[in-house]
Amino acid sequence: MSRKIRVLVAKAGLDGHDRGAKVVAAALRDAGMEVVYTGLHQTPEMIVAAALQEDVDVIGLSLHSGAHMVLFRRVLELMRERGLGQVLLTGGGVIPEEDAVVLQAEGVGRIFGPGTNTGALAAYINTEVELRRAQGGTP
């Protein structure tokens, strides 16, 4: 039996709905993953604390607030501080392509735009986690 992939799905920022994040969480569950859902208005500190306790392979960040550069960078910084550098940080929302390129160069994984096929997201996570586990990252 292969190890389950654990994913934290978090909604960062101040905007008030989480429909998109819930759809993603349900789709990843249907792809066989164990998805920890944390709800709305999560600060980077809360997200990384939850990721540490839950020992997830992936953090999936959903944001629409326009503060994506600050939020992704802060989450990444806290992850590294707390020994979670091997965890895949990915996400989605309304994020301009040029910003996504910058974030990826800094260590964030692929970023998915609105209306992405959830199957593509699940496939990406599967491949990426397998790779990182093979490299001896997360236990």
Binding site: R3, V35, V36, T38, G39, A50, Q53, P139
Partner: protein, 308 residues
Amino acid sequence: MDMAAGILAGDMRALARGLTLVEERLPGARELCVKLAPHTGRALRVGVTGAPGAGKSTLIDALIRAARARGERVAVLAVDPSSPRTGGALLGDRVRMTSHANDDGVFVRSMASRGALGALAPNAGEALDLFDAAGFTLLFVESVGAGQADVDIAAESDITLVLSAPGGGDSIQAMKSGILEIADLWVVSKGDNPQAAALKHELLAMLALGGADQLEERVCVVAALANQGVEELLAKMLAAGAAARADGAFAARRRQRVRRRILAAAAELCAEKLPTDTPLLTELEARIRAGDLSVVGAARALLSGGNV
């Protein structure tokens, strides 16, 4: 530093990784449990069960707040069902507990049941042992009570709370399913709901019929969102825990727990050894169909290698 030492020293990352080890039964899990065993048995383990939506996570959130004010260190194991079809799971209990996200004295871990519908996760007990060894003093395990999970959660807990929420047939259904029998304390949740008092009376009547004692003490109405009755419930839990420690019931439960785990592990080892696709199985199957042998007789024959 090795993982056991890390956990004992309060390293939360080590604890989180240890929990994964135990949950996934990865290499090193058994050794870890052996090393930590002498450091367990201090924490009070509280099982919280009840139908989906009864208010379990919300109540635990409120109890955490009250317990932190008393200086307890609190860990939660929140179990949600796995999808039998895909094996995936959506673990949503944390949503109700985010107010403690930045508190080092609170650790919340979500776990998928990975088993029969409604069951407690197979290694939930070991996960609680890890929390215990890490120095958490009050442990909650949340699980939807259904079928086997009732028994599991009571066996792994020192105190079991059963929640029923007013409004809706769920509470009545829960009463019929036998889940009430495992409770040490019964909680009518959502006490702000006008129908809570009626549910309390219904519950008292039902329990009196079943012969339960000290009912007025043991049935609590709690409005977790409004923070009413939470402190009282916590006080009752802690008092029951202290009493159980004093009269030896606590230690007896621990011994019972370990025995139960040995038996479960033994049953699993036996199941692994069973031949599943041998000529013998085919022969026995044919003899059952021919009216020559009973199913139990065939099972005996299978275990003894063919001697009926």
